[in-house]
Amino acid sequence: MTDTGRSYLHVPEPSFRPGDKPTFDEMIIPQAGAVRRPPVDVHPDDIQDLARTIIRVMSSDNEAVGEWAASLTDEEALEGLKDMMRLRTMDARLLRAQRQGKTSFYMQALGEEAVACAFQKALEPGDMNFPTYRQQGLLITSGYPMTSMMNQIFSNSQDPMKGRQLGNLYSSKEHGFFSISGNLATQFVQAVGWAMASAIEGNDRVGVGWIGDGSTAEGDFHAGLVFASTYQPPCVLNIVNNQWAISTYQGIARGNAATFASKGLAFGLPSLRVDGNDYLAVHAVAKWAIERARKRLGPTLIEYVTYREGAHSTSDDPSAYRPKDEADGWPLGDPIERLKGYLIAKGVWSEDRHAQMASQIEDEVAAAQRESEAIGTLLEGDKPGPRDMFEDVYEEMPPHLREQFAQSLKEAGEG
């Protein structure tokens, strides 16, 4: 073996780039129902295979099959369908609003609605999510008012974040939704710390960490797993693998690992991989992990296999780095279509009722938007002011901030 002078750095590449005809033939997708459901007190070593497969419930015949089926009643599944539709409708409208200049920036969850919506359905009041910017489904499902979300998107005077945060970086303590950070991965270990507090206090509240496939490369992901593994607090750690991190495909963060879920094996954590576009499967796995946590059996790591159908954000155009029609070939389908198909097949839903609900939701979301826009949008109407910028830096405004606040009022001609 001698030096060749020729580079041999291995740089992983997605199989397809713009201009290529994308397929997902290489993806190994087990049949729905094929993967067993172990008891919640199983030893992590005995389910290592679950980190390398995909747990699925809804079959191609629109049936719920296997040991993970039946975690929800039909009514609950219907609520889930509605949650996802509301989310998608809201995303679409706010995307348009951004194009109209009513907000600076927006990020949608298109194609991955099932993950957050179904997970939240398995939580209880008192539990706490530490979400990323693509989990607005948690808020929708937990009943956070859509107008509050929009008030934040439009940064108007009713914005609960008082104009301080980007629109998508929501927070609602009441709804178990921790304030989102713009810095990736930081909150993964905070979720573990929150759950440690639950254990220290002898409570049964569950902390939930969320992270994207790309962000698992951050050191804070590791920190979260180390602390979870060591202190075994009641938490669930969720990796949303939507295949992309802006323009970077998941292979850059995953490297030579088989799956993201398998990262948990290095920490002795039960690690599961689930079809993220299968509402029923997401819910069933979430319920399993939450039950483990609540029974004080320790943390679980879950990878949700899904696909980011839209652009990363309104600042992004994915046609520059992936085939335009890649989404069409995504083999796990669309979460709304699949749940709808299941409910229709079951005879508790119909195309007509679906269409009717869609238009109801459209009205509902439009009404919320009107209400919110009437208050104000980024550049028009009632807005947060300098006081909102100076408050809450500390519990009490210290002298130097009081002075700067006074100066800012003078600058604004109000001093």
Binding site: F105, A217, S247, Y321, P384, V393, H400, Q404
Partner: protein, 337 residues
């Protein structure tokens, strides 16, 4: 001579540096196939191959750490941190490692590398896409800290930084990427394509590190500025009809104290401006230096015009940003003193 935006100038510098020296490698989040979220590295992977320009995992600490290893090997990494706000996860690698390597190894190992990062606000990016952390680098011995205000300087300073044998923090004011900005956010601006400072010669040239530039001569007051604030300073001086000398520092460490001292000795008055948070900002260092060098010439206290000591807000962006109004008020005050 062709006019270029700051992005085009930075891209140009990359191409020239990589062509001239095959030790130069470029990596960072989304910089490979896509060419960076701000497009500053577009075309590099295609031209120089994946081994010299590639995507990195989202792990700023790893990006800087790996670059240090490469630099120790003999390469010259020029890496991108997607936003300066995301340099913090790499802070330990930057300040405890890159900055210290030459010194602690008795000169055996060095870390010639450039860490590029978009800095500053003015784009409604909220608190994690708007910060100006230059003081956090300037405080660290062993680092050089550079910040251009024009396409011409961006290219020349970047080439000088890549050729430098010390680690350089290269802050790119993102509000200037696609056009200059004088702080008047509600008015339209002359685009780079019509702007004198956008004349960027083809081919190789450098702007030396450690040399400030007087961008406007004046007799009555010295304004010390860098990055976006250079344009705000020029505009404010013009609008207010004040005979201000505006100095674009270009390099914060090492600092061109000579140019500063000469100017303040002449004018007897000085205003320091930056977008960053006020307390312990780089402006404090400038005030100290002016006082140390020019105390007896001062006819009024040196004023600081800065962002407030709050997180960078989203919708109150223009209440936060130290625009012509804030600077103008300070200029008036100092001229009256």
């Amino acid at each position: 001579m062709a006019k270029k935006t700051m992005i085009e100038a930075i891209r140009d510098a990359h191409h020239i540096a990589m062509e001239a020296d095959e030790k130069v490698v470029v990596f960072g989040e989304d910089v490979g196939y896509f060419g960076g979220v701000f497009r500053c590295t577009a075309g590099l992977q295609e031209k120089f191959g994946k081994a010299r320009c590639f995507d990195a995992p989202i792990c700023e600490g790893g990006i800087v750490g790996a670059a240090i290893g490469m630099a120790a090997y003999g390469l010259r990494p020029c890496i991108e941190i997607q936003f300066a706000d995301y340099a913090y996860p790499a802070y330990d690698q930057i300040v405890s490692e890159a900055a210290r390597l030459r010194h602690r190894s008795g000169g055996q190992f060095t870390a010639p590398m450039v860490i590029r990062m978009p800095t500053g606000g003015g784009i409604f990016g909220g608190q994690t896409h708007s910060q100006s952390p230059e003081a956090l680098f300037a405080h660290v011995s062993g680092l050089k800290t550079v910040i251009p205000s024009t396409p011409y300087d961006a290219k020349g300073l970047l080439l000088a930084s890549i050729e430098d044998n010390d680690p350089v923090i290269f802050l790119e004011p993102k509000r200037l990427y696609n056009g200059p900005f004088d702080g008047e956010h509600d008015k339209s601006i002359v685009p780079w394509s019509k702007h004198d400072d956008a004349e960027v010669p083809d081919g190789h040239y450098t702007v030396p590190l450690g040399k400030a530039k007087i961008v406007r001569e004046g007799k009555d007051v010295t304004i010390l500025a860098y990055g976006t604030m250079v344009h705000v300073a020029k505009k404010t001086a013009e609008d207010q009809g004040i005979d201000a000398e505006v100095i674009d520092l270009r390099t914060l460490v090492p600092l061109d104290t000579e140019t500063i001292a000469q100017s303040v000795q002449k004018t007897g008055r000085c205003v320091v401006v930056h977008e960053a948070t006020r307390t312990c900002g780089y402006g404090a260092e400038l005030v100290s230096i002016v006082n140390e060098l020019c105390f007896w010439a001062l006819e009024a206290p040196v004023e600081r015009v800065t962002g407030w000591d709050t997180p960078y807000p989203h919708s109150q962006e223009w209440d936060y940003f130290p625009g012509p109004k804030r600077l103008g008020a300070a200029l008036n005050q100092i001229m009256e003193a």
